[in-house]
């Protein structure tokens, strides 16, 4: 029974971390049709922002939950205003531009921080489940993911900003004809997506450490989750994270972490083969 509880926590953690690293990309891709190949680097910047702030005396919780999302969100707005906004509707050009941005950010952080892994200690200890011990920080990551997803749902469903974002996503010209300023909506959306990526990178920094090329590891899983989830931003992210996270963690538990990754990728291939439009292209179509 203790083992089942421990496994359940690990599965929830896998789902939560997948959802966290994917939701920023899902918002940017789902709402703006921009394939942001620098998404992994936004996560990496979030990690560095949290570490630098903490090392400079800022409370670690503030560093992770406030400083990192604000810093990366502002970087996102600058990127949108200076690069992305000139490339809307040109998907290949956007991919090339964000790929270039990704290489630039990797080079810049390597020059500043060096090609070594830096980290911060998890601010929570461990707790006992019967004969086993596990990190309390795992529960914190699960809680952050749950709060972030609930907050996005609430904003999208019940606020004027969420309504305008959904309307603009569906028909930007018509939204403009009704007085909405689409470029402003896009800038805010890109900034929010980047901020969420920064938050995810910061929250996961104590677990994984941070190094300049860590974004590569994040971006593949993020894209798999977003594509597997389909068009509905939130429902798609949650459902794909639940599926892939569960498969990944159970396979890891039964065999090894390497095979767990292989199982995740295999599941993604099967899913896209069976459901080319992703999970929400077939199920939960009215989900957000």
């Amino acid at each position: 029974m203790d083992l089942v509880a421990l496994l359940a926590i690990q599965v929830l953690y896998a789902i939560a971390s997948l959802a966290l690293i994917s939701v920023g990309l899902a918002i940017i891709f789902g709402m703006m049709r921009v394939i942001n190949l620098a998404h992994g680097e936004f996560l990496m910047l979030g990690g560095y922002a949290a570490i630098v702030a903490t090392n400079n005396g800022v409370n670690i919780w503030l560093s992770m939950l406030v400083v990192a999302p604000i810093v990366v969100g502002l970087i996102g707005v600058v990127v949108e205003r200076t690069i992305i906004r000139f490339l809307y509707g040109r998907m290949i050009d956007t991919m090339l531009a964000t790929w270039g941005l990704s290489l630039f950010l990797v080079g810049l952080t390597t020059a500043i921080f060096g090609n070594t892994t830096v980290g911060i200690s998890a601010p929570l200890g461990s707790f006992q489940i019967g004969a086993y011990r596990t990190s309390a920080y795992t529960l914190f990551v699960i809680a952050v993911a749950a709060v972030v997803l609930a907050a996005i749902f609430a904003v999208m469903r019940w606020t004027r900003l969420g309504l305008i974002a959904r309307g603009t996503m569906q028909n930007a010209n018509m939204a403009a004809a009704l007085g909405v300023n689409p470029p402003r909506v896009y800038a805010i959306t890109f900034g929010v997506g980047a901020a969420l990526s920064g938050l995810a990178g910061a929250v996961l920094a104590p677990v994984s450490g941070v190094f300049p090329t860590i974004g590569v590891a994040y971006v593949a899983k993020s894209f798999i989750t977003v594509i597997g989830g389909g068009a509905a931003i939130l429902t798609g992210t949650v459902s794909a994270s639940a599926l892939f996270g569960t498969i990944n963690q159970i396979a890891t538990f039964v065999t090894t972490p390497v095979f767990g990754e292989v199982a995740l990728l295999g599941a993604a291939i099967v899913l896209i083969r069976l459901l080319p439009q992703g999970i929400t292209g077939r199920f939960f179509r009215r989900g957000l």
Partner: protein, 235 residues
């Protein structure tokens, strides 16, 4: 004068469509625009709304020169647009579509929507349905109601009867006549349905090869030879 268009030119890429359109609209007027397919009727409305950049000429909306103004700023100045094909937000509910229409308004959107729904009672029973699940006629009513939520001073209405059943066309005519009387609405109507345009318009402009070539009274639309020559539509 509410709208003054002088020598307006625009097109798609290098293909010119409007070759110097000039006309004006007074406050409270309903103006109809008729012409063959491909003569530039829809392009004219898109250009007036700012979706196509003017390559020449000038558009004055009230005292504002809006020739190079972005669409969302024109909407905030009081230009309303009901496009061809309705362009309802398909994934939003009817109520959310109406809320989108309130984007330019500062007052409580519940009150604005309640007032607009009084003019479109058919929509009251559909508020929780998604826009994409409505019939063409219901979508047209929603598109008009959504536009009115922004309290526009001038409405650009593009082919509202296209693909709509006759009973709803009658409802649209009655609604627009009522709105003209109650709200003093000003409107530019692009339409191919001669009965519809004659029932609503005070003057009708004929557009040919991207320019306004003639102005006729609604009663003249009964002249089959004129209609055939300038409009190319059987009565």
């Amino acid at each position: 004068m509410m709208l003054d268009v002088q020598g307006l030119r625009t097109g798609y890429g290098r293909i010119p469509i409007l070759n110097g359109v000039s006309f004006s609209v007074n406050e409270g007027e309903f103006i109809g625009i008729l012409g063959h397919n491909g003569m530039g009727k829809t392009t004219l409305l898109k250009a007036l709304m700012g979706f196509l950049p003017a390559t020449g000429g000038r558009v004055m909306f009230g005292h504002d020169d809006v020739t190079t103004v972005e669409p969302y700023r024109r909407a905030r100045l009081g230009l309303g647009y009901v496009p061809q094909g309705r362009e309802i937000f398909p994934g939003l509910t009817v109520y959310e579509n109406l809320r989108m229409g309130c984007s330019t308004q500062d007052s409580a959107e519940e009150d604005i929507i309640a007032a607009v729904l009084e003019e479109f009672p058919r929509l009251k029973a559909l508020l929780d349905r998604t826009g994409g699940a409505l019939s063409g006629g219901e979508q047209q009513l929603l598109a008009m109601a959504r536009c009115l939520c922004g309290d526009p001073r001038l409405v650009l209405l593009d082919e509202p009867t296209e693909g709509i059943q006759p009973s709803i066309i009658d409802e649209i005519v009655e609604t627009l006549q009522r709105l003209r009387a109650k709200r003093g609405l000003t409107m530019i109507l692009v339409e191919q349905n001669l009965d519809f345009i004659a029932a609503l318009s005070q003057r009708i402009l004929i557009i040919q090869k991207g320019a306004i070539t003639r102005e006729v009274a609604p009663a003249e639309l009964g002249d089959a030879s004129l209609v055939g020559e300038f409009v190319g539509i059987a009565t």
